[in-house]
């Protein structure tokens, strides 16, 4: 039952990503083309109206998820991969070095994430800053989760058995421990994705957006708020798009973790 929910949500989240990535192909117009009266409301041929420059909002919404989603995917995968590797290693060897890793993680958690991201965005191009921020803010969380799970598994029956068979630690980690925690790791990955989208949107609000005229949901949110009273769709639709994207991944993450535990 849970498994089915998770499967359905995974499909849904995947669909959200595909739409975000592939929407550009569906656009009828060039999303940068100026063709209508600024802030025109919905009308035939212009289903969502126009933005402040007179550009077709529908085209911009369809095309506006691509870069954001790609950046967030890259950020989530990077942060998660680093966190999983670090967590497996730290959880397996609870020695001095792993404590140093944990201390580093604690330190990163103590620094305001937004500060790190802001420093990053000034020094790096936008997408790289999102990746850096997600790694700095998200990897420690992943590391803790995976390290705790690994440490818990260290003395579990199936691990002891594998070790008793003479398998090496690294191979036990990869063949036994990692698959056993695929759910947790998948859920964690989804959370990192949500985090990186949130981070990208926050950086945008603070003024570090993608270059115009490139369409981008977060940028649209900012650009079109002044016209909320004139063409609400120009703000509300990209807001909904962001909400669906983050919401579906959050729900997926939830479904993956609550298989063991919740009622």
């Amino acid at each position: 039952m849970r498994r089915r929910t998770a499967g359905a949500l995974a499909a849904w989240a995947g669909a959200a990503v595909l739409v975000a990535l592939g929407g550009r192909a569906l656009t009828g117009h060039d999303p940068a083309a100026v063709g209508a009266t600024p802030w025109a409301g919905p009308e035939p041929g212009l289903p969502l109206g126009a933005d402040g420059l007179g550009r077709d909002v529908l085209s911009r919404v369809l095309a506006g998820g691509q870069d954001l989603t790609l950046t967030a995917l890259a950020a989530a995968l990077t942060a998660s991969a680093l966190g999983v590797a670090g967590g497996l290693w730290a959880g397996w060897n609870r020695g001095r070095l792993s404590r140093a890793a944990a201390a580093t993680a604690d330190l990163l958690l103590a620094l305001p994430l937004l500060l790190l991201a802001l420093l990053a965005v000034v020094a790096l191009p936008g997408p790289a800053a999102v990746i850096a921020g997600t790694v700095l803010g998200g990897t420690p969380l992943t590391l803790r989760v995976v390290a705790d799970a690994t440490a818990g598994a260290r003395h579990a029956g199936y691990v002891e058995a594998a070790l008793a068979r003479g398998e090496r630690g690294a191979s036990v980690l990869m063949r036994e421990v990692l698959p056993a925690h695929a759910g947790i790791i998948g859920a964690d990955l989804a959370q990192r994705f949500v985090l990186s989208v949130q981070l990208a949107v926050a950086l945008n609000v603070l003024g570090f957006g993608p270059a115009p005229p490139a369409p981008d949901w977060a940028a649209m949110l900012r650009e079109n708020l002044p016209g909320l009273g004139l063409n609400p769709a120009a703000t509300i639709v990209p807001a909904l798009a962001l909400a669906v994207l983050t919401g579906s991944f959050a729900a997926l993450s939830h479904a993956l973790t609550s298989r063991d535990g919740a009622p």
Binding site: A211, P212, L225
Partner: protein, 513 residues
């Protein structure tokens, strides 16, 4: 404001705070600005562009935001001010008179002004303040560069002699606006020093806003309001929303989109100051392809100025005629309007050997509203003559250190400043800020000649000729001028007209007008 330079740095702040612009328009039945409780009706609340994080207390260094200019203009007296018609008006200085060589000027200051600590304002205080500005040249864009302040000297309590480096007929103008007079010897500017201006800072306030109380001993016309509250708000949208929700009485610099929505709302009044801002397109004349005069002219002919004005400024403004300071009193008035002529532009491109087009990068930023969309539209328009301009959006907070004066093709910013200020900062050979690489020696000889001309009418005509030549030969394309848009609650009066420094002197605002 005239302090384009200040505003530009304020842009740093705007840019960051930027965009925040959370908000919609007010509900259709816009609540009449509710206003403060009746007792507070002698307080005018002004939301000015600027950042509360940058609120400075030193009047002679960088004034990062317009709010800083306004606070200084309330607290301190300046020597002269620009009038609404562009002429120079006396303020603390009552007279400025040159000798025959136009290099030694006798400046007379009022004898009835006193600082808030009771001391009278003397000529020595004024000269001290100018010298301090001279020392802080790096932070005020060399505003005192034309003066030899070391050779200048105090004559008596009400007069000092100001020496210029070259014959300089425009000394009154050079003393406009930012020449805030502080007591001689002031050296700790961590807190405001005593001023002699129309208002005095009170202890009320903090990071959110500063409250000023009327100085009843001021020599000038008595300000009608007892209190003025100045609040620095970086985001234009937020300033407008603050007014519409009745939290302030005057909002400076609001976005055109919002102004458009408020047309017909009788609870608010839209104040327009023509020609306050322009985003000139910079073409660096020592870099290909702009080293060819024909290419610069082709670009100027390829621009659809009307479309740019309507899109970028929503029509609040006027189309540009490539004059860099069209509102300066000396600007030529009778030139034909330059219009789009793609045929001629294409021919010029072909003559320049660029019939096959050329690839360029056009830099822009989000520091000021519409700069990004302007670049996008310009790039599309230039496609008509084969210029493939890729728009590159740069971070606002490093735009003026990394792009300004360094790249060959970008959108710059000018905030209604006088011609001679533009010359000093942006048209001086060898200066890192000579953004178009303008260096025609004959032109500069003509400038010296104009400044040494004592007759006002003749000088003005010489300056007009210089501006015409710059328009036709130089590296600027000025496609439109935008109005400065302020929103005021109905009934507010006394907001200064005029652009630049003129707009900072708000001591006569009143809620009962």
């Amino acid at each position: 404001m005239r302090s384009q330079f200040r505003r530009r740095t304020a842009a740093v702040v705007t840019a960051v705070a930027v965009l925040a612009g959370c908000a919609g328009n007010a509900p259709a039945a816009a609540p009449a600005p509710a206003g403060p409780p009746a007792a507070a009706n002698d307080t005018v609340r002004y939301a000015a562009p600027g950042s509360p994080s940058n609120a400075v207390t030193d009047p002679h260094g960088l004034l990062p935001g317009e709010s800083d200019m306004v606070r200084m203009a309330l607290t301190y007296d300046v020597l002269t001010v620009p009038g609404a018609d562009g002429s120079t008006r006396p303020r603390l200085a009552t007279e400025w008179r040159p000798d025959k060589t136009l290099t030694r000027w006798r400046i007379t200051v009022r004898d009835d002004a006193t600082f808030s600590d009771g001391r009278p304002v003397r000529a020595a205080d004024a000269l001290f303040s100018l010298r301090r500005m001279g020392e802080k040249a790096a932070e005020n864009f060399g505003r005192m560069a034309m003066f030899d302040l070391g050779a200048s000297k105090v004559i008596d309590d009400t007069a000092f002699e100001l020496v210029t480096r070259k014959p300089y007929a425009e000394v009154g103008r050079a003393l406009e606006g930012a020449t805030f007079v502080v007591p001689e010897g002031s050296d700790d500017f961590g807190e405001p020093v005593p001023g002699s201006g129309p208002f005095r800072p009170t202890a009320r306030g903090g990071a959110q806003a500063v409250v000023y109380e009327r100085n009843d001993d001021w020599w000038g016309p008595a300000p009608p309001s007892r209190f003025i509250e100045v609040r620095a708000v970086p985001d234009p949208q937020s300033r407008a929303q603050a007014l519409l929700s009745g939290q302030v009485d005057l909002a400076g610099g609001v976005p055109a989109t919002l102004a458009k929505q408020q047309e017909g709302n009788s609870a608010v009044r839209l104040l327009r100051r023509p020609g306050a801002t322009l985003y000139p397109l910079v073409m660096r004349m020592d870099t290909e392809p702009f080293d060819d005069h024909r290419v610069r002219e082709a670009v100027r002919l390829a621009l659809d100025r009307r479309q740019l004005l309507d899109t970028v400024f929503l029509g609040y403004g006027e189309i540009g005629n490539d004059l860099i300071t069209p509102k300066d009193a000396s600007s030529p008035r009778d030139l034909p309007q330059r219009t789009r002529d793609l045929g001629r532009a294409r021919k010029l491109m072909a003559d320049a050997g660029l019939a096959g087009g050329v690839d360029l990068t056009l830099h822009t930023t989000t520091a000021y509203p519409g700069m990004d969309s302007a670049a996008t539209l310009i790039s599309q328009q230039l496609a008509g003559i084969g210029i493939r301009a890729e728009v590159s959006l740069e971070p606002a907070d490093t735009y003026f250190s990394e792009i300004y004066g360094r790249k060959p093709f970008y959108l710059s910013y000018l905030g209604g400043i006088p011609f001679l200020d533009v010359v000093r900062v942006a048209l001086t050979p060898g200066s890192p800020t000579n953004e178009t690489a303008w260096k025609d020696p004959a032109w500069f000889a003509g400038l010296d000649e104009a400044l040494a001309e004592a007759d006002d009418a003749r000088r003005s005509s010489l300056l007009a000729d210089l501006q015409t030549e710059l328009r036709d030969q130089g590296g600027y394309a000025v496609w439109a001028l935008s109005d400065r848009l302020d929103l005021a609650r109905a009934g507010l009066s006394g907001v200064p007209e005029g652009i630049g420094f003129a707009s900072a002197f708000i001591d006569q605002v009143s809620l009962d007008g």
